[in-house]
Symmetry: C2
Subunit: 210 residues, 2 copies
DNA sequence: CCTACCGATCGGTAGG
DNA sequence: CCTACCGATCGGTAGG
């Protein structure tokens, strides 16, 4: 998984990086989709953002819808990869949970990738059923990561109750941060991650740490 | 506060309820805005939903934008009123917190009002600056309710850390439920509220309750 | 990748 | 509240 607009998704020569216009378009589209929404973003907006004329983006993407799909797929891939990497480094459930929250928020809020991530989260409703199913498959496999760790935490008595609802609430708390987080503000993604952990882990261990 | 489309916002005769078309339009607009988004919803969609021709909604609202504003204002008013009522009945911070979570989720997810509530939460970005400021004023006064109770919980040692971030995370967890909650599903708004409380309140009291 | 353009749709209006 | 319609915009295409 993971491509984030490096190269032709089709089998063209990957060596030729000379001005990756497809990637430029995707990044511009991601930014505009996040800022104004998919419907309110115009092909002309996107073209202007990469110094093209209005018809030219269609040389790289068949439709505007295809751009949304490409942004969404790259978006989940980025989140998925970041969280998998963070999770694999931590065998102990509680630390793994912390690392995953950290990684998810970072993927969601850091300057690179935040456009893609926000689009997955907020604009997927505009995909047609087939494309949506494709994205949903990726989302499902991502959520399994969370379910596994949450179930372990429940088994250890660290969390209680319905882990299905808990997962949705946790991801919601994080995903919603795309609505209020401002890059330059006084709270960093790390601050947010720490506070979320403090909120849901009673964490005797940390309190009584030697 | 609170009107939820009963009657003319202007000073017309409130007695004459004979076919409240303005309210019909607002409810239809709210539903469509939530389902398809503001931009993707057409005046013609709204008109069709209330059996009018495409030009007629403009007899009741000057612009589509004004419909969004009206829906948004009614939306926050409904949430605000519900949470105030719930909070006033509970002097003890912990029970008040539970009641507020319950009330917020119920306002957000119950069949009446969920369209309005979801629109406040998701579509306000399409308001122009002046209208947005108007809505923001209402939102601010709503968030004060939460800040007060969260600060009390922090003072009592029940919650820890940055209550500003905590408030945003909590409201995020709840507001996000508009994306995944399905009215007929196996989890009720009450289930969600209970689970959220269990997640963030360690709640010795309940565990050891006689 | 640009020029030139089409067909459809959309918010909104006039006039009743 | 309807009929009829306008001006603008938009996604997309042809032809180079």
């Amino acid at each position: 998984m993971g491509s984030l607009t490096e190269a032709p998704a089709t089998g063209a020569s990957p060596a030729e990086d000379a001005g990756n216009r497809r990637g430029d378009i995707l990044r511009a589209a991601g930014k505009l989709f996040r800022e104004k929404g998919y419907k309110a973003t115009t092909i002309r907006d996107i073209a202007a953002a990469v110094n093209m004329r209005s018809g030219s983006p269609f040389y790289h993407f068949k439709t505007k819808h295809d751009m949304l799909l490409a942004v969404a797929i790259d978006g989940i891939a980025a989140i998925h990869d970041a969280v998998v990497a963070a999770a694999q480094a931590e065998p102990e459930p509680r630390s793994r949970f912390r690392a995953m929250i950290h990684a998810h928020l970072d993927a969601l809020l850091n300057p690179e990738g935040r456009d893609f991530a926000a689009v997955v989260i907020r604009e997927c409703g505009f995909l047609d059923p087939e494309a949506w199913a494709q994205v949903q498959t990726h989302k499902d496999s991502y959520e399994v990561l969370w379910s596994r760790t949450l179930d372990e935490l429940a088994a250890a008595g660290i969390l209680k109750g319905d882990m299905h609802i808990t997962r949705l609430l946790l991801l919601g708390a994080m995903n919603w941060s795309t609505h209020w987080y401002h890059p330059g503000g006084s709270r960093s993604p790390e601050d947010i991650a720490r506070q979320l952990c403090a909120l849901v882990l009673s964490d005797e261990k940390a309190r009584y740490k030697k």
